[in-house]
């Protein structure tokens, strides 16, 4: 693990826990055990460091989603696998949390990384739904894009509601609720 790597990992963790605006260079140094000078040697500043941390998050997320949706079985089964994967509910989504941060939205670089990743997930979900329609699992009337957006939104919103309640059961309710609705839509 290089010093550079330690910085990125510490940043990843702090971005998750506190978001971008509330993560200070000082906190990153403390968490990584790296010295002041080293950080500014390896990175231009806080934003550049965050950019790399988010990049790493994106790679991880894409790999995970590919795995979830590649499972054998029905479209609904794949979506169930994706939604049902074990998550640290109360910490929230690494991407969803960032996007509430005004500083992130103001930074074109940071925001587009987050946006690209979330948009990519919706495209994957839409492909799974479209496939289900194709194979007669879902009715022709089911719009893959909209349905995928609803699924992705439910996931993001489930994090929000569970965090407000500080209770993972709320997350489960929301996810199960949308899976129930999808099951009703099955032919």
């Amino acid at each position: 693990m290089s010093t550079r790597d330690d910085l990125v990992e510490a940043t990843r963790e702090l971005l998750w826990e506190r978001g971008y605006g509330a993560t200070s260079p000082r906190a990153i140094l403390d968490a990584s055990g790296v010295g002041q000078g080293s950080m500014y040697h390896h990175f231009r500043g806080k934003e550049a460091l965050a950019q790399e941390a988010i990049e790493r998050n994106a790679e991880e997320m894409r790999a995970q989603v590919v795995m979830d949706l590649a499972s054998e079985g029905s479209s609904l089964g794949k979506i169930r696998t994706y939604l049902g994967r074990k998550r640290e509910v109360l910490k929230g989504c690494r991407f969803g949390k960032l996007v509430q941060d005004a500083d992130v939205v103001k930074s074109p670089k940071l925001r587009s990384q987050v946006d690209d990743t979330l948009a990519w997930v919706q495209v994957q979900l839409a492909a799974v739904i479209a496939d289900g329609v194709e194979r007669g699992e879902f009715p022709r009337e089911l719009n893959p894009i909209r349905t995928a957006a609803a699924i992705a939104a439910t996931l993001q919103g489930a994090y929000v509601l569970a965090r407000a309640a500080q209770d993972p059961d709320v997350f489960e309710n929301a996810v199960e609720g949308v899976l129930d609705l999808l099951a009703f839509a099955q032919i």
Copy 2:
């Protein structure tokens, strides 16, 4: 409009735009035109001020939801009215945004205000669904609590996805998607 009131209104606006952690007393003073001394005369500090601002948000939200769900017609119609209400999509939900803020979650007072309001909305939605089941609009198998959680989550998540994309259409997609699913569940 009292000075006190000006402070609360300015805080409401800033909490919405920037969240709690990123809203400084200084910014509140600038936005309200109130002086330093006045603010600390009327409020103990930033947290007390935020508490009152959130309280006012909650009253507004409850009144609005009651109106939306009181409309004549089917359960689905009421939910459609609620979800379809005009919103400032890119600014996000006043409550959902706050809950991503670590400082808010750490403050029992602030968090519980947000939680109570979001939980209350879910109870109202569940009542509408339960009523729909009762009247034969939805099948007996539809669980009102879970369905309400899914609807509330979709709304929160739709804000998140639209903000990432900086595009209100994404919000529309998600909302329409869940309404489509509810329509499929109708008997």
